[in-house]
């Protein structure tokens, strides 16, 4: 009983830290997105609020909170309220299996794992399942708003998610065949010392990357919120902090997608040679800090890539999106699985 209680408290604390961290990252991403997009367009970007405009997200949130919360007259109020909550809850709950560092060896010899829910043996499946739930938030938002543009945005989103989840899953299967486990810790352990999956699975990585863009509704796959065609897509009828939650969920999704890609393809917190050179032992605090820095370094590179691509590529047309998903990525994913399977079968 005592043991269950303490582990519950530890998980609670870890969860609170992870949640706050993710929300701060999401806020920082909003700022970075605006700044980087400005630089790519010969502009400066927000630089007035606080030093270098760093407090801009704070001002944005303050503005969103003071805005009037409008619910359309014929909207389904309950679902209209529920939809943004689903979006943000799903985006944040994926964090529980993200493993940003291995473990800290406590004085009494027990291992304090850094992940909120460490050693979940279905870890990766859980991520795929949760991302599938995320589409409910968007579809529900589109449907409950009682607005044709919102509905179209919601429907597009569900079609897009289903199409790209397949390609994403197939790409992941090939990588998981190499790792031989669904447990996040095991996946990272199998890529130790620079044997990252990206070197063996370049095609799988590209497929997974493209599918993640589609899953997070980021440009060039931001059809659910295509401004010129759908006004604002699924969040047209949302205002104030409800809209803010969708906005936050998009960036939280970006963060989790980058973290998943880092875990699956970029070796997670693994940094070859450096820990040996510095002579930090596994389980000590410096090692954990080094691992955290490595993990978030890799994640930030991917996050920058997300932003970079958004401000480079135009949006896909709907039929192009479906063609790419079903006629290019899906067959490529299958071919990738067969080749990987054959190599794993004959070589090992």
């Amino acid at each position: 009983m005592q043991d269950a209680m303490s582990s519950f408290v530890v998980t609670l604390i870890k969860g609170a830290i992870a949640l706050n961290f993710a929300l701060v990252i999401a806020a920082a991403l909003v700022y970075l997105e605006r700044r980087i997009s400005a630089w790519m367009q010969y502009r400066i970007g927000p630089n007035r609020v606080g030093p270098f405009g760093l407090l801009q997200p704070l001002a944005d949130v303050l503005k969103l909170y003071t805005k009037e919360d409008v619910v359309p007259y014929n909207a389904n109020r309950a679902f209209h309220r529920l939809a943004p909550l689903i979006s943000i809850a799903v985006a944040l709950s994926i964090l529980c299996v993200i493993t940003p560092a291995s473990y800290l060896l406590l004085e009494d010899g027990t291992k304090l794992f850094i992940a909120v829910a460490p050693n979940v043996n279905v870890g990766f499946l859980l991520i795929l399942a949760l991302t599938s739930i995320g589409v409910y938030g968007i579809t529900l938002a589109g449907w409950s708003s009682n607005n044709k543009y919102s509905l179209m945005g919601g429907l597009r989103s569900s079609a897009q998610m289903i199409s790209y989840e397949l390609a994403m899953g197939l790409a992941a299967v090939a990588a998981l065949m190499l790792s031989g486990s669904l447990d996040m810790n095991q996946i990272i352990a199998s890529q130790a010392n620079g044997r990252w999956n990206i070197w063996f699975q370049p095609l799988g990585f590209v497929i997974f990357l493209v599918a993640s863009f589609a899953e997070t509704n980021r440009a060039p796959f931001d059809l659910p919120e295509a401004e010129p065609e759908l006004v604002g897509g699924y969040h047209t009828e949302y205002s104030g902090m409800k809209f803010g939650l969708f906005y936050l969920a998009e960036y939280a999704n970006m963060f989790t997608a980058s973290a998943v890609m880092t875990t699956l393809y970029l070796g997670g917190y693994d940094l070859p040679l450096v820990p040996q050179l510095l002579g930090v032992q596994e389980g000590t605090l410096p090692r954990v800090l080094l691992e955290l820095a490595t993990f978030f370094g890799k994640v930030s590179v991917l996050l920058f890539f997300f932003i970079w691509v958004r401000w480079t590529l135009p949006r896909f047309r709907y039929d192009q999106l479906m063609n790419l998903g079903w006629r290019v990525l899906l067959p490529l994913g299958l071919v990738n699985i067969i080749i990987t399977g054959a190599i794993v079968f004959f070589v090992r």
Binding site: W39, I44, V309, T312
Partner: protein
């Protein structure tokens, strides 16, 4: 019947059809752009100084011995937006007439510069002021207090007029 031979899609070569190399090219371009000099002007601190040809807020020329305007009312007549109101009065100076009241409604003014063009005395000219703000409609009606500008500050415009008008 639609003839679809030799379309743009068919003229793309293999690498272009793969998309990825082209996407990489695009990414390289945006990345380079990030480090190029910015075009943004930090407005309230960094102000743009217009040239003499700029048509900003119309102002009245103020010389050492008073305004140049003789209150002929031509500007008021020509103004397409009916923004100018002039009331003439007599004075002891050589010109004999001066405007006792000269008002421009800045909500109506369209900055066409016809008043300046028609003025026989070169007394009303377009200045370089471009950030004109007011908080109420009453404030938007500029009287002589705001319209009269010392001639020294309008030299550039007067020179421009002499050259091109």
């Amino acid at each position: 019947m639609n003839v679809t031979t030799n379309t743009r899609a068919q003229r793309m070569n293999f690498w272009e059809k793969l998309y990825l190399p082209e996407i990489a090219k695009g990414l390289a371009l945006t990345f380079k752009t990030m480090f190029r000099p910015k075009l943004t002007r930090q407005y309230p601190e960094e102000r743009w100084e217009p040239l003499g040809s700029y048509r900003g807020r119309p102002v009245l020329v103020l010389e050492e011995d008073g305004e140049r305007c003789v209150a002929c009312g031509l500007c008021s007549r020509v103004c397409p937006a009916l923004a100018i109101e002039v009331q003439a009065a007599e004075t002891d100076r050589d010109k004999e007439r001066y405007p006792s009241k000269f008002e421009i409604n800045m909500l109506r003014c369209i900055y066409c510069g016809l008043c300046e063009e028609v003025c026989p005395e070169e007394a009303i000219v377009m200045s370089k002021d471009y950030d004109i703000v007011f908080h109420s409609q009453e404030e938007a009606i500029f009287g002589k207090d705001k319209l009269l500008v010392p001639i020294a500050r309008l030299q550039e415009r007067l020179e421009f007029l002499r050259q091109y008008k």
